[in-house]
Symmetry: none
Subunit: 214 residues, 4 copies
DNA sequence: TATGAATGAGTGTTCATTCAT
DNA sequence: GATGAATGAACACTCATTCAT
């Protein structure tokens, strides 16, 4: 029994090691893929590029992912869970505008730290959606999640009269998200300089006060 | 001499016909390519798809364009000149905010009527820039042109105290363009419903008044 | 009847003109094709190139020749008849070695004046024979014709004891033709300088005397 | 450490196998390509033909050669090194005419065993030069190498009064090379019968004695 | 399981040939 | 008959995927 147990344990340990090794490989591949997809886009990124960036052989990719599409999809999913984790503290805030500000700042900071991921996400979510629709059908979309959070904050803020009453919450939320995204696009176009998160104040100021002279 | 004249005329007519036919073919190909690129993106759009959409043989494309890249580029250029034409009346307006409103409305209307073109343009200008940078180097970019117009309007509006003085014109212009683009992205995400141009008022209202309750 | 006759005559004249025009077109095309094939080789020479060189439209070529192969073939045939014409005086000579010398000199001069044709011919006859065998099957070949003339001269020269008796006429003829062709190849490799025909003396001297010191 | 060593050895063995396999594939492709190019010429030989002849998939060719041109070039280079190897013993001979005879005999034998290669080489060096000039610029050419050897032998033979003094070494060497090449062309035209190398004696006899009766 | 070479379907492009004018 | 644009078969080459080791 001792022997059995020992063997079982050894096996278990070995499997743990294996499993950790598997996880490490998988992670390395995803990190590499994120960089490569972010740099080159879906089509120009070759499986060979990703393998090279990850320091593994091309065939190895297929031990961890079914195909190129699934590598792509996995990056998105991984990014989604990471952002969700980082957003958790912000969601604790009860005050809707403060929560909105925290969500925005967190998202922008996340963006700065995960530029490549964002490139991938935005391409897929916003623009290549149609051509890549076959990828990730039915995944809960990060966009949806994010917009839902923003929408809730807006509904509450309007209810508590902190915002104009004459524009529906959805429309307002859309404009806000839009303004944020616009900031992001401008930031990308400028080559992703530092301190995107610091733009949160500007976004809020403009969004709340407008451009009219006071 | 009558004969010569007649022959000359016939030739001339024939050449006109031919020339018109060439232009018609070229146009048909561009229209088809615009649709296909808009639908599938640069990479997924195959020359065969474009040819099929245009109702010609694949080889025919190469009688009008050197290669796939040049088809793509030509769409952009064609779109640019068309938008420039349509913007001309708006540029006559002397009053900066009125001009800005006209530019915005015209651009949005143009967009509605040329959704596919815009998809193409934005993909290239904003996002696929890196992977497609080899295409169209040195074209005067529509983005640049548009942003220049907006920037000028802002400089004048700030000078005439019609806008807040505490934010630089460039920043304001960026935010405005951003807000507009955001509207556009939201519109695209919603599947390009009718009446995008009507959103001009909302954009201006929000941009000028802000979201604060009055 | 006068009318008929007149009409008939007019028709006939017109047909002559037409026929002359046809011949002129055909000739122009062949001249152009000879230059282009000579310059680029069979495969790299495009029908469009030939048409351009001839100053006609691509389609016109097909009013005179069934296809590219036939253009090629026609050049060879035309060259063959021209060389045969030029060789006629040489063939009058009764004395075999004098005749051989005249044939050689004439052939070399012809070569210098028809370099392009020769390039075509040699490519086809000597080297691309296998790959181009589908062309001109069963034509009486210029090579064959030429070698036949040479062979006859050798048979007679050996019979009249003007040449070594210990080597069969065929072998000797082959060597002589070979030496001549070798001269030609060297000449081509040197870029076709002037005065190839003047090498006739050297060929004969070497061929008859050998390289041994006297 | 034993394990490491064992693993290292295994790896090394595996790599040797792989490396041998790679070399074998490469060689098989070159052999196939040599046959196909020799049979059809550069243009008519399709990559698919070569792949089929080698018994591999078309794509495999591109794991070993960058493109069709490079396959072609590699054949030439391989042939050059092989001939150079085979010529080495002949070059040991101090006596110029004996050396020349050995060089000639070796070359002819090489030719018989590598007819396809020669077809390829001669097409490129002599005739398709112009259209294929883009291939292999700057390779040390087999022709040049061979002619240099011949030229040296002639200079020495003339110096030692073994040959006529009235014709410059270059000219004589050219004629000799020419005679040899002529023999080769005749041999090709006759369909590459056996025993080409045996013609060395005939070449030398004719070259030295000439065709005059003694 | 990692490897990396083999595979072959798929694509952009060329060009001989056809055909409407 | 001349024209020159349309045609589409053909081909070099790429790359995601498979598989023997």
């Amino acid at each position: 029994m001792a022997t059995r147990s020992a063997r079982a344990k050894r096996t278990s340990v070995r499997e743990t090691v294996r499993s950790e090794s598997r996880a490490a490989y998988r992670e390395a591949i995803l990190v590499a893929a994120e960089r490569v997809f972010g740099r080159l886009g879906f089509h120009d990124a070759k499986m060979a590029d990703i393998a090279a960036e990850a320091g593994v052989a091309a065939g190895t990719l297929y031990n961890y992912f079914k195909n190129k599409d699934q590598v792509f999809e996995s990056i998105l999913k991984r990014g989604q869970s990471r952002l969700k984790e980082e957003l958790a503290p912000a969601l604790e805030l009860a005050e809707p505008l403060a929560r909105l500000r925290a969500i925005t700042e967190t998202s922008l900071r996340f963006l700065e730290e995960n530029g490549a991921l964002f490139m991938i996400h935005i391409r897929r979510g916003g623009l290549e959606a149609r051509s890549l629709r076959h990828i990730g059908e039915g995944n809960d979309d990060l966009h949806e999640f994010h917009e839902q959070l923003v929408r809730e904050a807006f509904v509450q803020a309007i209810e508590s009269k902190q915002l104009r009453q004459d524009i529906p919450a959805d429309e307002l939320a859309g404009l806000f998200s839009g303004l944020t995204e616009a900031m992001i696009f401008a930031w990308i176009r400028r080559g992703c300089p530092k301190n995107l998160a610091a733009k949160t104040d500007l976004i809020f100021d403009m969004f709340l006060q407008g451009a009219h002279p006071k």
